[in-house]
Symmetry: C2
Subunit: 264 residues, 2 copies
């Protein structure tokens, strides 16, 4: 979905940190950064990335989410990466044999929003491509966040898991209803203009004999008006439709070039 508005500048709002634990592939770091940028996150932290940092493949995969990559911080351990946070969720699709609360993305985002709203720091832990998070990392989290996936196909790519949680955060924030553009629809015309259309059309149809019998006319008119009301036409559209009616109605008044002259 192309459509970035280059006239807009990036806004760095208070938002949750995304912590990738020992990511193996630069591509995943880049696509995670892009997913964050799509929904306004920017605090990306890497714990001991396998291929070091900076990483060219991450840059290539980030589709110009450079403002996120430029702010990346690298840590030696997960403990250091979350040291400044007071609310940490571990994202995992695997049940852990642990006395740890499990919540869905809606509840997780709700808690993060109120926590950050109170001026505190919150973050989300994401595990390794192969093995996910270690139990030690889940243990130092306040709760587990997992997604309402299809149990028979529960495996998400890291960037996709980041995307869903970034989306939930934004959806529930005051930006959730703020779409990048609205519809350019003109407002519906006043009913008087709609009545003008109806009477114009029905007058023509009276002449063409559309209404088979007088007793059927009222119900047929109601059905027509019901159908034509549904479109909530603008004044311009009503003018156009009346032009269409007139054009068809006048057809017989004009000589039809395709019609054969009658034999004389």
């Amino acid at each position: 979905m192309a459509g970035t508005d280059t006239t807009q500048s990036i806004v760095y709002r208070p938002s949750p940190a995304i912590i990738l634990c020992e990511p193996q592939l630069g591509e995943n770091i880049g696509t995670a950064a892009r997913a964050m940028a799509n929904f306004g996150l920017w605090d990306l932290r890497l714990v001991n990335p396998r291929d070091g940092w900076p990483n060219e493949r991450a840059v290539a995969a980030a589709s110009r989410a450079d403002h996120v990559l430029d702010k990346v911080r690298v840590f030696a351990t997960t403990e250091e990466a979350v040291a400044d946070l007071s609310l940490v969720f571990a994202t995992t699709a695997r049940r852990r044999d642990m006395q740890k609360e499990v919540v869905g993305p809606e509840e997780g985002a709700r808690r993060i929003i109120s926590h950050i709203g109170a001026g505190a720091g919150a973050g989300l832990l994401f595990g390794r491509e192969r093995w996910g998070l270690y139990n030690e990392e889940v243990a130092l989290s306040d709760a587990i966040v997992t997604l309402p996936v299809e149990p028979a196909f529960a495996s998400l790519n890291i960037a996709q898991a980041v995307l869903i949680l970034a989306y939930e955060w934004r959806r529930q924030s005051d930006l959730g209803e703020a779409l990048p553009f609205g519809d350019g629809r003109a407002e519906a015309a006043p009913k008087s203009e709609l009545m003008g259309l109806f009477e114009h059309l029905e007058g023509v149809l009276d002449q063409t004999g559309f209404f088979t019998t007088p007793d059927k006319r009222p119900s047929m008119v109601n059905n027509l008006r019901t159908a034509l009301t549904r479109g909530s036409f603008s004044s311009q559209e009503i003018r156009t439709l009346r032009g269409v009616i007139s054009s068809i109605d006048r057809r017989h008044e004009r000589p039809n070039p395709n019609r054969q002259k009658p034999e004389s």
Copy 2:
């Protein structure tokens, strides 16, 4: 997020069709199929895919979402791909100069769910990697769905756009609250056991002189009990904590190997 439960079998529920218009890269078809599978969608339709069908790169990128790829249907035109549907949304991140309603993913998913609930067919159109959807394709849709993205970074990969809409569909469906696993938390112990812990601890602290002055004791006790109540400990955890207290309390009763013998 690894965690697919291989004991579960795929369920094909009535769900929206995902229509990719002239996708250029097989990878994107595969990752879109995977995103669909994560949230239980399965009806994938391709309009004139650039590299034909089947596509090995799609299979490689789908991470075993074979049940979706096996059902793929290919159409020559978008009109044919939506012919059996009575509700079609065009996904786009670009404003169109068109009198077309624009809704967000929540409203879009809400309409799709009620439409499908009424037994009718619904689908979502996704555009080309480079140019998105043509205006002709947007025109034949009932409305535009766009995401509440960061305006300054609005470009989503096709699979990511599919993922968000598949997630919204599932989130609002009766499966939205169904997480693949719950927490294994034992229930909180009865208050009598918690009182036993409090009295045990406070009794020890009375002996150690923790409560500096008698008049401070009640408030200090309340603060301690407040902190220890918050964890809603299980019976097992309370037994463990009482063991901890006893162990510390008894330390002086045992000879301390590190302590020097007093000079005699």
